[in-house]
Symmetry: C2
Subunit: 470 residues, 2 copies
């Protein structure tokens, strides 16, 4: 029997079992697997063990594998018809989540998941990781579960790998991947860590911006000073830092670092024409977050600003006295975290040098600067003609009753570059996130519909992929 013929009972099973799927997601969401905080190392291990135990029940040969950081899970299962020439896919997800601060802005404890009503009536799952990436990766696991339970096997050959350090740059996972690359042979990779176009329109992401994340410390006097005694005479590192960062953009919203845009190409006219017709407007995109005016480069479409153009954001800044009340201090240092979203044609290491040169060129003689590097990865343009893409697009279109779009994403998923470089694999990026999911923010959520139809979507995609020759 073909996988397509077996699909309907699998979808029925998903609907019937949905409450249990939700309970399994909740169990994972309750684990405080914040990778950035060493205090949560035990929770990360617990999340890995929990997931591995669950995946093993689906017929996968499953291992929790140590890395130099938090462990990874590696699980392998043959599709039902091993010798039928069906493809082998490598599915990737991550069980680690972002820190939860500022905690006081959460309406509920971040690790006590609930289903509740969104302001506009949508049912939503609220918890840290509800979307990124626990909710998303569980759509895939639950789809596998339904196939296994209904048909006794999976439609295609699968290797699942789930890491625990995506939110801190995968610094230990990538070496693990390189050291064990013979274990990850496959025809292509699949990742569920991206978004839909809107709550009713599915999407496959075919381009990703790169990321360069820098930290910069400006240091002046050898100690904190009293501004009444030294004010006017001694250099203030906050003054220097704000001057440098405040000068990063010109009046047209362009980044002023010399050479920053070198190699950046304009969109092909046909893509630009297509994008102009999409309904991504300040009203649809910015109004829900309380804004109205696109902040990027003047003369560019909003969709260009957020997906095809390089950007810069100061993600954090601190210096001097930041407690309640006042203190007349000139601090000895001030620092900021600055990140860049990069596009095709921009080499992260070159941009790092340009940024550091820019900062250094604006440094008064009396000050010192130190730089730290958090992560970097180039932009990715995926192959729009890769074999499984058309099948996945068809499957998504069938599930959602709306043509699935091929879109570019402003976010970075650096692992996609690593899969290409290390394993030679192209990646199929399918996900069910929405712009208002508050990922990396307080009150992260995942639409209940995203979770339910996400599981159904993967069940359909697996069936469709089984029909595509390797």
């Amino acid at each position: 029997m073909s996988s397509t013929a077996q699909l309907q009972p699998v979808l029925d099973r998903i609907d019937a079992d949905f409450d249990s799927s939700l309970q399994r997601l909740f169990a994972l969401l309750r684990i405080k697997s914040i990778s950035a905080d060493p205090a949560n190392a035990g929770d990360c291990k617990a999340a890995a063990d929990h997931l591995a135990k669950d995946i093993a029940t689906l017929g996968f040969a499953t291992e929790v594998r140590p890395t130099a950081g938090h462990p990874a899970i590696v699980a392998k299962a043959d599709g039902g018809a091993k010798d039928s020439g069906r493809p082998h896919a490598l599915f990737y997800g991550h069980y680690d989540v972002q820190p939860v601060d500022p905690l006081n802005l959460w309406h509920r404890p971040p690790f006590e998941p609930v289903v509740t009503d969104h302001a506009d009536g949508r049912k939503i799952i609220v918890a840290r990781g509800a979307q990124d990436d626990k909710g998303q990766l569980m759509t895939f696991i639950e789809a596998c579960r339904a196939w296994k339970q209904v048909t006794g096997s999976l439609p295609i050959n699968l290797t699942i790998v789930i890491e625990g350090e995506e939110e801190v740059g995968s610094k230990n996972f990538v070496p693990f991947l390189e050291a064990n690359k013979h274990e990850f042979k496959a025809d292509y990779a699949m990742v569920c860590d991206t978004g839909m176009w809107d709550p009713n329109t599915p999407a496959i992401t075919t381009a990703l911006r790169g990321l360069l994340y820098e930290e910069v410390w400006i240091k002046a006097a050898n100690r904190d000073l009293h501004s009444g005694i030294y004010g006017g005479g001694a250099q203030n590192p906050i003054r220097v830092l704000t001057r440098i960062l405040g000068g990063l953009f010109d009046d047209d919203g362009r980044i002023t670092i010399p050479g920053f845009y070198e190699g950046v190409k304009d969109l092909p006219p046909e893509i630009l024409a297509q994008w102009s017709k999409l309904n991504l407007t300040p009203d649809s995109f910015l109004k829900p977050i309380g804004l109205s005016i696109p902040a990027g480069e003047k003369g560019r479409l909003l969709i260009e600003q957020i997906s095809s153009r390089p950007t810069c954001d100061v993600n954090g800044i601190i210096g001097g006295y930041t407690g309640e009340g006042s203190k007349t201090v000139i601090p000895a240092e001030a620092s900021a975290k600055v990140s860049f979203r990069l596009v095709e044609g921009q080499d992260p290491l070159r941009i790092r040098k340009l940024f550091r040169d820019y900062v250094t060129s604006l440094l008064p003689k009396d000050c010192r600067v130190e730089f730290g590097d958090h992560s970097s990865g180039p932009a990715i343009a995926l192959d729009w003609n890769m074999k499984p893409l058309a099948a996945a697009k068809r499957a998504l279109t069938e599930e959602w009753g709306k043509e699935a779009l091929l879109i570019g994403s402003g976010a970075s998923i650096p692992i996609v570059a690593d899969f290409k470089r290390t394993l030679g694999l192209d990646t199929l990026l399918v996900g069910f996130g929405l712009d208002d999911d508050n990922i990396h923010s307080p009150n992260e959520k995942y639409d209940l519909k995203s979770f339910h139809k996400g599981i159904r979507s993967w069940a359909r995609i697996l069936a469709a992929l089984a029909e595509v020759p390797k």
Copy 2:
């Protein structure tokens, strides 16, 4: 017997009793009377009780008086010759201290005072408040103690008032002063909260810069955003804040706020000529703090930059993710604490309006700004001819063997304006602080010599003042 004739045994007594004086200062320094932190309210009360009990032993009628904030001490004593026409002085000090953060930069616990060796061999007292203002105010109390113990009375009539909120702007003390002004009648005020010219040269401060301390919050989106999704499209309040603050100074170090320098007068040529001869150089003033280039207005003497010119410093800034590692967040808000040192001719309320107008004028349409006001007070030019000044100058010159200088100070002591406005009193500003005392910073210290000769100086000043007719 005249006060002058009684002086020598008083000075001898100070020398003989110095170890006990130090122990009494240590007892006061051990009390964690940080006025800014509500958690230390009990400590502030304890410091007031402790001081009041001590002062009462010197023959003062002493009360701990409630205010709307931390309590104040009011103590009164008649000089030995009540009807002799001797003057009545109001002495002011404060028992509260600055917060101690960053605590990790202290070499010792800040509330466990010790006498130790400075790098250059000077003996120093190290603790929060060692100078500002516990050490300084105890020079006066100990001088009174010696007079009382040796002669049985004080050379002049005295009211002592010690408040507990100077470091947070005296917001409750000033109304207390106004409400009870009949209790504070005197011929002049005296404050021990200023500095010497250098470790061997005493000084009387005759001009003080004013202070305006503002807080500014820039708000953009209604929640924290993921920079991968919104970066390039959504406004970032750190970008807005750094642009505003980074533009506060032009290339010549002048403050760019329109109208800021209006009404600011240049120094009279004779004062400028006198100041040019003083040995205040980048080498003497900036080198000890690790700097070499005056950061103020180009074309001005360093001494002008730090004492007679208005200045601006960002004392604190915070926004976004400031923990370890990285987070790709666009925060919903960012804030800064900004203070201005003002000079004669600048009205703090006008400067506040100019600053707020400046910030608002640079605000993108999508952002909101909120302002907070921490404190404000105008600059003070004291009367160089006030009666007790010559006597105090003579007494200081005798004690230190070097001509006491009349200097301007960059720091603000707003109470001086309140004494003039509320009580009609001029203030004599004598203190023994040094530029390297680290007040408001980690490892605050007071030279042992400042403390010892400070007590002796006040003993001499009291004697000298007794000879000046009311």
